[in-house]
């Protein structure tokens, strides 16, 4: 039995229409159907945060939403965050602070922090730590990620 639906959505500025099985979650849809493998899947039950993307501008877990529910939505993934060749301030800060090692958590970290910093300009170190409390990293010990988050927060709020 295959329950299918026609959906149309916008991913990183590009329109997509197609038929999908209704039980496919958004993260698998992005990775398998669209080939956007920058969105990672760790736990698939909402704990690790690796699959975080933006749906209509809000950070969500792409593994906890069915792709059919994204019908008509604007999705932004890590592949669409930079402005052409110009990195998002957070991507630049991650690079400068060596805020990644294996890179598995990185897209989720960045999509989470980018939304958080946008909505909370002037975020403190504690705020940054709370914001990524739902994103697991097993390499860095978090220190450089927090440093990158703070640097980007200061840059984006114009205090640096």
């Amino acid at each position: 039995m295959q329950d299918k639906r026609q959906i149309s959505l916008n991913v990183n500025g590009k329109e997509y229409s197609g038929e999908i099985e209704t039980r496919v979650h958004l993260a698998d849809f992005l990775r398998v159907n669209l080939g956007l493998t920058g969105t990672h899947l760790g736990c698939e039950h909402g704990v690790c945060g690796a699959c975080t993307v933006w749906v209509d501008g809000q950070a969500v877990r792409a593994c906890l939403m069915l792709a059919v529910q994204a019908n008509g939505c604007d999705i932004l993934t890590i592949e669409g965050l930079a402005d052409g060749e110009v990195l998002h301030p957070l991507q630049k800060a991650f690079q400068e602070n060596h805020a990644l090692q294996c890179g598995f958590c990185t897209s989720g970290m960045i999509m989470s922090l980018a939304a958080y910093i946008r909505d909370n300009p002037g975020a403190s170190e504690r705020d940054i730590r709370t914001a990524i409390s739902g994103n697991l990293c097993r390499c860095t010990g978090y220190q450089p990620i927090v440093a990158a988050g703070l640097q980007a927060a200061q840059e984006m709020s114009g205090t640096k």
Partner: protein, 288 residues
């Protein structure tokens, strides 16, 4: 692709929803999905039908008539947390929501989903209990109201039938001047609480005039600490009074699981009760 096959339904009106819940069998209602989708992904839940409540109009929103605040079941946790009425009139809801998952799950998670999932450690059922909130259920047979005290029937089992859905929740903010607190203990922020405690506290001339205390995480369902509430009314709002309330919390039955035994939860229930009451008292003093 992880969930087992199901048939997906996306009703637009409450009438359509009534028709579906009244006619289909082996159904799961999909609210924010922050608990159900993990269960689908892991195939703990393998329903024949999933009815998406996100497409139904008229199930979300926050209305205040001056005495009662009505919250639609599909109101997102983030919307609740950022609502001015909620912040002003029932601020303990916002304080508790800070502990609900993470900001990335509160964007999808709903108040109704949390109430129906009824995890023993969940914050929102505890808050609904703290306010003696009323839940409005709807279905093809009509509507009925369930007081929050009668909502948890057993572990993760709400007082609703397969032909019903949760429509809205009504909160009656205390009209008397009062303060509040919600505290929680978990190993990492965003983890399920091992034990959480919330309270509302009205203090007049240094004496406790009215009190409500709720505990989550300690046992199979959240509960009000009614004995302690009665004990502290008329007593001075002091550390000694709150210690006595904590003793009552410590004596309540608690559950054990693979990580935490009952004795530890009982001890924590006492500590959290005292902390919540002390925090509320400090807030009250700071305001005077």
């Amino acid at each position: 692709m992880k969930p087992a096959p199901f048939t997906y339904h996306d009703p637009v009106t409450i009438d359509e929803l009534n028709g579906l819940v009244g006619s289909l069998e082996d159904v799961k209602l999909l609210a924010g999905g922050q608990s159900l989708v993990p269960m689908l992904n892991m195939r703990y839940a393998q329903p024949d039908h999933v009815i998406d409540l996100n497409t139904v109009s008229g199930l979300d929103g926050i209305a205040d008539n001056g005495e009662i605040i009505t919250v639609g079941a599909m109101t997102r946790q983030a919307a609740l947390m950022n609502n001015e009425t909620v912040k002003q009139k029932i601020p303990v809801v916002c304080e508790a929501l800070y502990w609900v998952g993470h900001f990335q799950t509160r964007t999808r998670g709903t108040i109704g989903g949390s109430l129906c999932h009824l995890d023993p450690a969940a914050e929102l059922p505890a808050i609904a209990l703290l306010y003696d909130a009323a839940l409005t259920l709807s279905g093809p047979e009509g509507s009925r109201n369930v007081p929050m005290a009668d909502w948890p029937v057993a572990y993760m089992m709400p007082n609703m039938t397969e032909n019903e859905f949760l429509k809205e929740i009504t909160f009656s903010p205390w009209q008397v001047d009062h303060s509040h607190a919600f505290v929680e203990f978990s190993r990492r922020h965003g983890d399920f609480a091992i034990v959480a405690a919330g309270c509302l506290l009205a203090i007049d001339n240094g004496m406790v005039e009215r009190a409500a205390i709720v505990i989550a995480g300690a046992n199979q369902v959240p509960y009000r600490l009614t004995e302690a509430e009665q004990d502290i009314i008329g007593q001075p709002a002091s550390k000694e009074t709150f210690k006595a309330a904590a003793e009552v919390a410590r004596r309540q039955e608690a559950m054990s699981d693979a990580y935490v035994n009952a004795e530890y939860r009982q001890r924590l229930a006492g500590v959290m009760t005292e902390r919540a009451l002390s925090k509320a008292m400090e807030r009250n003093s700071a305001r005077d």
